[in-house]
Amino acid sequence: MRKAMTTLAAPAGALALTLIISSLALWAFGSNPFDAYSDMGKHAAKLETQVDIWNRATPLYLSAVAASIGFRMNLFNIGVEGQYLIAALVAAQVGGLVSLPQVLHIAVVFVVAMTVGGIWAGLAGLLNVTRGVNVVISTIMLNFIAVSGFMAWWVQAWQADLREGESLAASNLGTKPIDDSGVLPDITGWVEVFTNDIRDNNPVSGMLIVAVLVGIGYYVLLNRTTFGFDLRSSGINPFAARAGGVPPKRMILIAMFLSGAVAGLIGLVEVFEISKFRPNQIQGLGFGGIAVALLGRNSPLGMAFAALLFAFLDISSGILQQTETASQEIVKIMQGIVLLAAVVAYEVARRVRVRDEAKATAEALAEGVAA
């Protein structure tokens, strides 16, 4: 009973602390925090906003799963950012070039995205197992190489392709549009069965289903398969795992590849929405995903809640900008504080639990001696 209470108390405490600190920040700079929160709440109650939140939570969740596959093995894949951008770029490029029947075409886009993401992350894994290069550093470097090298190269090529008179605006640049046969359909129709009509220009991304499937797959893989057991045990104690016959190098390679393959899906949410890749594709989802994975403690369900929370905060910045009740930057601050507060709260809860257990054991022993 007490155990359940400490488990729930941690996230609740973290949330309360976040609200207190951000209220103080808002109040200190002359905004009324309650107005801001009620604006955010009213905004989120609207159906359109909820669609936005789901559409933002989808890539965040995928990004979190990608990061957490590495975390479970103590591999810090900071490079999700670069992996998803490069994967989305190549997948959109390939998808725009080929024309195939619908299911096959979509499958090609998915396979290309996952392979490219997997290879880009696997490169860091390969450097780690063959040359002993720290994964944190190599994935950071690969991020820079993907964004300021690979993407810049394509942007140059697109600029050269522009016709006379077209502006260099990012909206004119990008890959060749993918035919409709290669675009994953939206699932607005399914959602409308339960709700009112959703505005046409605001469809629910079909990637939501993919994200749910990835979440289920992640749970099954980690908790119901030998591979998952090996992966978790390598993360908890690599020496013991090796003694138990788990090949550490192969595990690192597979984990990095899987992590990158899931990362490859992140960018597809936007690619399917606009049928192409453009240079001003939403960035920062990789780092956001790391935060979501940490907040959700690498659990498939926890990360889903965390992704929705972060998506809600992201989307709320728009309404704050509109109503001007508070500076919209407060939502990012809240994301950072909630993350820090949550990990501190989890640690405190853990210490309380350990102390309680020690006390219970001591009492049980004392009773045993007395009897």
Binding site: G132, V133, N134, V136, F144, S148, S327, G336
Partner: protein, 446 residues
């Protein structure tokens, strides 16, 4: 988490044996100074390295038909762009040496950028610098509270700081300057010309500009060295002097004082320190706060006229992360970090000044020569796989150099990062991180 009787111990002994084979007997975990076999003072050795590097650059410049590689503007750019990386790297050094991973350097740097600019606008550049340092140190303190007191995973706390800092500074900019992304222009703490060598003035006397005279003689190599050195000595920002002076200071502090010994103890074997009555928590706190302060100073440099002259969102540009790479590149030693930062600054600065692409093209030749050297070295050490890999890359670089006149812009963009990766690929096994880096330490638990 150790098992009784343990596999971990066996593993550690194994790695120790390997380390001894690699470094020789004097470089076990106790010794963190480079094994100095030649008996030459370290500074002299580094001086010779620098001169040899200049010789290589001059040769490549002569073959490669460009004049930029050794020119004063390039060395000036090198120093400017190296500064933030150097300071972030030194910050990373202090954190790592006391056993705390600091991914949050980037965030602490952003805090330094904002508070440095704000302080300079409110109270003038000198106080502004101190306020910027304090801003970074506050980020470090937050990291220390989370990781040392609350045992939060060090990477998690760092990531949180990297989210908080840009959001917080955006918020503050909006409230203070009415624009979320930038501040008004700020003043710097001033420049300095080295007297006699680069024509600085002493008490109103305008000294001769010796290096300029030599540089204008167009003596092969000698004039190149003079010109390159002059770029470092003329119009040098006082911030640059402070930053460069911090390198020997940090080395002295960490390796020649009792404070430094204890701080490193916290990163190598905290339980051993504890048994001698050292307050490990305190040293970890101090190390991480210094780390934040140095990263904050790096941020001050970015906002100062030396680089941007204002707070501008995104201008940290991931240099905190590159500082982190410089720490590893430099094998957790101040001089190595300086070298890494200068290398980054050189490649980055050269790209900015190289509008026609000839210098970057000549750099391909340099890459080829250096890789050939690496290949020879690896084969001499009987590391055939390394040698082959380096050889293949060298051949690739030569072929590219011969078959092209310029290199595309994206190649110069990524060159600094490729260099870091290559260095790690060939030398990662010779690096040794502090033994307890990243581990959670609780007093009384082992």
């Amino acid at each position: 988490m150790t098992l009784p009787g343990s596999l971990t111990d066996q593993y550690n002994q194994g790695t120790k044996a390997i380390a001894q084979r690699l470094y020789g007997n004097d470089a076990g975990p106790q010794s963190t100074r480079a094994s100095n076999t030649s008996g030459m003072p370290t500074w002299l050795r580094w001086m010779l390295f620098a001169l040899a590097g200049m010789l290589l650059l001059t040769i490549v410049q002569s073959i490669g038909d460009t004049e930029k590689l050794t020119s004063a503007p390039i060395s000036r750019e090198m120093l400017r762009w190296a500064l933030p990386v150097l300071l972030a790297g030194l910050g990373g050094l202090f954190a790592d040496r006391c056993g705390v991973v600091n991914i949050g350097l980037e965030g602490m740097m952003i805090l330094g950028m904002w508070f440095g600019a704000w302080g300079a606008l409110e109270y003038g550049p000198w106080i502004g610098m101190l306020i910027g340092i304090a801003g970074g140190a506050a980020g470090g303190l937050l990291h220390a509270i989370a990781t040392v007191t609350f045992s939060v995973d060090q990477v998690i706390s760092g990531v949180a700081i990297n989210i908080l800092a840009p959001a917080g500074t955006r918020f503050l900019s909006q409230e203070v300057w009415g624009s979320p992304t930038q501040s008004p222009r700020v003043d710097g703490i001033g420049d300095w010309d080295v007297p006699v060598l680069a024509g600085g003035t002493i008490f109103g006397w305008e000294s001769p500009d010796v290096l300029l005279t030599i540089a204008q003689k167009e003596w092969w190599y000698i004039s190149d060295v003079a010109d390159f050195s002059r770029g470092l000595m003329r119009g040098t920002s006082l911030l640059a002097l402070i930053a460069v002076a911090l390198v020997p200071f940090c080395a002295w502090l960490l390796w020649r004082t009792r404070f430094g010994l204890r701080l490193r103890m916290a990163g190598e074997r905290p339980q051993a320190g504890e048994s001698q009555g050292v307050n490990i928590y305190l040293y970890k706190y101090v190390g991480v706060v210094i780390s934040g302060a140095l990263a904050g100073l790096g941020g001050v440099v970015i906002s100062s006229p030396e680089l941007s002259g204002q707070f501008l969102e995104g201008n940290s540009g991931g240099r905190g992360f590159i500082g982190l790479a410089a720490v590893i590149f430099g094998n957790w030693r101040p001089l190595g970090i300086l070298l890494g930062a200068l290398l980054y600054g050189y490649v980055f600065g050269l790209d900015l000044k190289d509008l026609d692409g000839t210098a970057s093209h000549a750099l391909l030749l340099l890459n080829g020569i250096v890789l050939t050297g690496v290949a020879g070295w690896a084969i001499a050490q009987r590391r055939i796989a390394d040698g082959t890999l380096a050889g293949l890359l060298a051949v690739g670089a030569f072929i590219w150099w011969l078959s092209s006149d310029t290199v595309p812009g994206w190649w110069s963009n990524i060159l600094p990062y490729v260099v870091v990766l290559l260095v790690l690929v060939f030398f990662a096994q010779r690096l040794r991180e502090p033994a307890a880096l990243g581990q959670t330490y609780r007093r009384g638990e082992s």
